[in-house]
Amino acid sequence: MSPQVHNLQELRRSASLATKVFIQRDYSDGTICQFQTKFPPELDSRIERQLFEETVKTLNGFYAEAEKIGGSSYLEGCLACATAYFIFLCMETHYEKVLKKISRYIQEQNEKIFAPRGLLLTDPVERGMRVIEISIYEDRCSSGSSSGGGGGAGAR
């Protein structure tokens, strides 16, 4: 594994997509959005278990925060109802704010941790909150024979 930090564009250009791993949802707490922290075997040689679990747990924490029911969410709901939901033309919901935080976090994680290991996390919101998609890239061999679908992974 190269010690240098690849930036994401470089990763896509120089590597080709080998496979994708999907982290499914964990419904044991009900319908709230949580992902399984079980470590997938395909990532065994690519990333440390600890780092992976930490990432997933942080994401779970963010989603729990987004869906948290309490005083502030009730207030937002009642205010929205009172203004006939026009208030959402001016401000965004708490959930949307947290989703933005999540995408920033994922971007950061990709740059710092996953890209150097030839992995790419896709934001679950792009997959309908069903899965966390982790694309595994392999370095292209020097003959450059493969046509490399590097950019294809995130866009699907």
Partner: protein, 424 residues
């Protein structure tokens, strides 16, 4: 004193006499309040109709392939003839065992409380019911609007009913009952409509109030999923314990943003051949096909189809075609096909999937059957899902193809490609 002020026209005075009469006789607040309630009702109705109920987008081809692989591994590789059990997963939520079903149309395991609506042809989170009056499913994201709609509508109908009666009574005190009815014939109609509406709408509001306070969906209540009749230990794992919290969460809880892009243009999907169960490398190799342009993909995938048609596949034709014929009617099948211009893909909504439940039962059998027929390594490398459209094509049953194609956007390219080829 009975006469209306400035009656604009004879007809109008006769018909809409309640409002001016009551405004003059009692207070102008009455039509004002009715107007406010009416606008509130219309607002909530439109909001319920036009908001996304919580549709779950369909799985991408990669996800679907991965799930299929995992299911095959879980079931063990089976030899031909043995049908694997239906695809369900069990999960324990708050001490209750809940079964998650696999949706064959959306190719996902449905989250708890989600259900596939056959009219909308989508899986919807926290599916309550599909309301024909509103023209939309009622699910997680628009349940509160629906509830506010029926609640405000019940207030409105009770209000109108009460004041129509008041109007008729006041008039009949002056001119006698029959004359009062003759003077305002609309009142009779209004009273009758309101009377029946009150019973139905108020009843519905009461029912939904009960559902909200116990945190159940209509679906669960009808099936009796959490009723005590099923067993003493059966309780609702989603309930928060007290009525107040349940109501607050349902009505004032956070709304998740929509997961679907309702304004985007449909992109033709690149048909991903499903990976054979065992090797990941094969899967990786077929990825390179995704880089081909659409035209090539059409031709490539239709080549698969035609190759498959030439293989022993044809032996199983009779059973497959009989399966095709038994597929639930799709009464609209004839007309859309006749008028179908094969440019833009037909949106699923235009094909009423009226018997989706039956279809969902048929599909597993068909898929498994075909899966076992064709996923032997020596067969032509035909993707089973394309074959779902492929085998009828072998008989040039384009009608069935088009019917199936519209269910799964993966098929669209192959259909278009094949029709281009056949038209040459």
């Amino acid at each position: 004193m009975n006469r209306m002020r400035n009656p604009p026209a004879f007809g109008r005075r006769r018909v809409f006499s309640s409002c001016p009469y009551l405004a003059v006789k009692i207070t102008p607040a009455i039509p004002a309040v009715a107007g406010i309630l009416f606008f509130f009702v219309m607002g909530t109705l439109l909001r319920t109709s036009f908001s996304d109920p919580g549709v779950l987008p369909r799985a991408t081809p990669d996800e679907a392939a991965d799930l299929e692989r995992q299911i095959d591994i879980a079931n063990g590789t089976s030899s031909g003839g043995y049908r694997p059990p239906p695809r369900t997963k069990e999960v324990i939520i708050n001490g209750q065992t809940v079964k998650l079903k696999y949706c064959f149309t959306c190719k996902i395991f449905r989250p708890p409380r989600a259900s596939h609506c056959s009219l909308c042809d989508n899986c919807v989170e926290r599916f309550d019911h599909h309301c024909p009056w509103v023209g939309n499913c009622v699910g997680k994201r628009n349940y509160r609007f629906f509830y506010m709609f029926i609640l405000s509508l019940s207030f409105l109908t009770v209000f109108i009913f009460a004041f129509v009666l008041t109007h008729v009574i006041l008039r009949s005190q002056q001119t006698g009952f029959l004359n009062a009815l003759k003077d305002s014939p609309a009142s009779v109609l209004e009273a009758v409509v309101c009377f029946f509406s009150v019973w139905s709408i108020v009843g519905l509001s009461g029912f939904h109030t009960y559902l909200i306070s116990s945190n159940q969906t209509t679906n669960e209540d009808i099936k009796g999923s959490w009723s005590n009749k099923r067993g003493k230990e059966n309780y609702n794992p989603y309930s928060y314990g007290n009525i107040f919290t349940n109501c607050c969460v349902a009505l004032c809880g956070p709304i998740s943003p929509s997961l679907i892009d309702r304004r985007g243009y449909i992109q033709p999907d690149t048909p991903q051949p499903a990976a054979p169960s065992n090797s990941i490398t094969m899967y990786g190799a077929t990825q390179s096909q995704s880089d081909m342009c659409d035209q090539d993909q059409c031709i490539q995938s239709t080549k698969f189809v035609l190759q498959a048609a030439a293989t022993p596949l044809l032996q199983s034709e009779p059973s497959l075609t009989s399966d095709e014929l038994h597929l639930p009617g799709k009464p609209g099948l004839g007309t859309p096909c006749a008028s179908l211009t094969l440019g833009p893909p037909t949106p699923p909504a235009s094909m009423p999937n009226l018997a989706e439940a039956a279809l969902a039962d048929m599909m597993p059998r068909k898929d498994e059957h075909m899966g076992h027929q064709f996923l032997t390594p020596d067969e032509a490398p035909s993707p089973p899902r394309l074959l779902a459209a492929g085998s009828p094509l072998a008989h040039s049953r384009t009608m069935h193809v088009l019917g199936l194609a519209s269910q799964d956007s993966l098929h669209e390219d192959s259909v278009r490609g094949l029709v281009k080829l056949s038209s040459v």
